[in-house]
Symmetry: C2
Subunit: 307 residues, 2 copies
């Protein structure tokens, strides 16, 4: 039996007690800090408040379209203080997994990317060779010659040992057909993350799990997903900071990624916000995939601690 989550909104004493019991806050971005390019009101002030109280704020996002460097630019533009070291994207997590954990046999060390530039930059940062991705040659309609060259293998790079898929705003039949034929020839199937939807403009669009769905459906097997709730991502964060998990709190909007990530990782706390994909009704259900320890309406409700 899981204890009922504690509601913090409007309760100064509870908020102060909540903040005091943690040294590190891991924060999801989409649906917590912003929706697409729209930052939620009070977010920069809330992050500054936590930092002013000596807390470390680490941003842990499943969105793989940006590299850590690009995320830093977005944070700076939105007036949210951070450093590259305090940003963990699923593209970075996947790149670390490929370069440091996965033992690719010689001659099979290349990654075929289905995704945006964020994945390519993080693979570069780990010196992992890759093809596909943002290559303009793959951003076009499939032709009869492509069908033939994929079927007979002449269009395939024999050194590809991994297909890595993430959110791709440019997915098309040609890229997916390449990925499918690499998988049929034995490549491992990895994903940065498999979130089905993406919060943007106070609405939802297709997330990584949807953008790679043609490949998953054709192949008939899901990829190994390396973003939240995969503990590979928490291991990467912990490896960098030597976290005390009992003094760490995960803040997020999704039960199946953020809250499950914190619960599975045995963190001291999890905080659920109502500004993204899942609302409290999701964890009130008996078969909820994960239940948070705390919840607020919106992250900036923590600003009460200021007063």
């Amino acid at each position: 039996m899981t204890a009922k989550p504690q509601y913090l909104t409007g309760d100064i004493a509870a908020i102060n007690e909540f903040i005091d019991q943690f040294d590190v806050f891991l924060l999801d971005c989409d649906g917590v800090l912003w929706s697409g390019d729209h930052v939620f009101e009070g977010i920069p002030e809330t992050i500054k408040l936590l930092q002013s109280k000596g807390k470390r704020t680490v941003f842990v996002t499943n969105n793989s379209t940006k590299s850590r460097e690009e995320y830093l630019k977005k944070f700076t533009k939105l007036n949210i203080p951070s450093t590259v070291e305090d940003i963990f994207g699923s593209a970075y997590s996947a790149s670390i997994y490929i370069s440091r954990i996965l033992q690719l046999p010689p001659g099979k060390s290349k990654v075929f990317v289905i995704g945006e530039i964020g994945i390519e930059k993080e693979l570069d940062s780990e010196n992992v060779p890759h093809i596909g991705g943002t290559d303009p040659e793959l951003r076009r309609d499939i032709t009869p010659a492509d069908f033939e060259g994929l079927a007979n293998g002449s269009l395939l790079d024999p050194e590809v040992g991994v297909v890595l898929a993430g959110l791709d705003f440019h997915f098309n039949y040609l890229k997916m057909a390449h990925g499918f034929h690499y998988l049929k020839r034995g490549a491992k199937f990895l994903a940065t993350n498999i979130d089905s939807t993406l919060p943007m403009h106070h609405d939802f669009f297709l997330g990584a799990g949807s953008s790679m769905a043609p490949l998953v459906t054709a192949w008939g097997q899901p990829p190994l997903a390396l973003g939240k709730p995969s503990q590979a991502m928490l291991d990467a964060v912990e490896g960098k900071f030597q976290l005390d998990r009992s003094r760490t709190c995960m803040i997020g909007d999704r039960l199946n990624t953020d809250i499950k990530f914190g619960v599975d990782g045995k963190l001291g706390g999890t905080l659920h916000v109502q500004t993204g994909v899942d609302k409290k009704e999701a964890w009130e259900k008996e078969d909820a995939i994960a239940v948070p320890r705390f919840y607020v309406e919106k992250l900036s409700d923590l600003l009460l601690a200021k007063e």
Copy 2:
């Protein structure tokens, strides 16, 4: 307990007996007659043989990329004798379902198409208004203005009451995002068919079920599929020919579409060929989705009956 399928290849007596017990043969196309644009050896002769024995040959295909008229051109080019009346595609089946069975409320009568020109032509033949499909305006990258216009609804046609998806070689984020937002606004979700793979060049590529998978994953619910094995398609065939089901045989390569279609429709027989997606190992398994009554290596094995 299902009886073991009878093997006909090389057995003249069994082949003659098989042919004699049916008046109508329903034939799948991809994987039975051809793989992509490669017609299998002996197919034209086999169809002519059946016709010369007074049998009706009806082509029942889940491939929605071509209209019946376009299929006829392909048949003629490949020297397979047929008429438009003897061709049933899933685009035609879906169009009949929308125009004659589905009662769309006034002001919600338009169809948003994700698919190729075959679907558009068959909707035209039933006078169903449609948008999307092959519209070149949707064959491009999604822009920030698209995200905003889809979220606020300004880019959506309020008269769309159905999203109809089929095999689309030009699927992209923009089309899928349109489909997703129509579904969120209450449109019904239909599919011509949901085959996950497509036989081509003696290999497999992404089928309709894979090409529409981004929408299915984002929406979280599958569409109502109107191709095989949906009995809506058999009802359409029967409505045209007043078939005697006990004297009708379905010929195909897939258990979950072709053979199940014939079994569910209580046809007199089903014949499984080994030239497409499923091999005999698939129905030898205990949990096979459907088991044929007869099987051959390839359709042209029936040519023995000539002798």
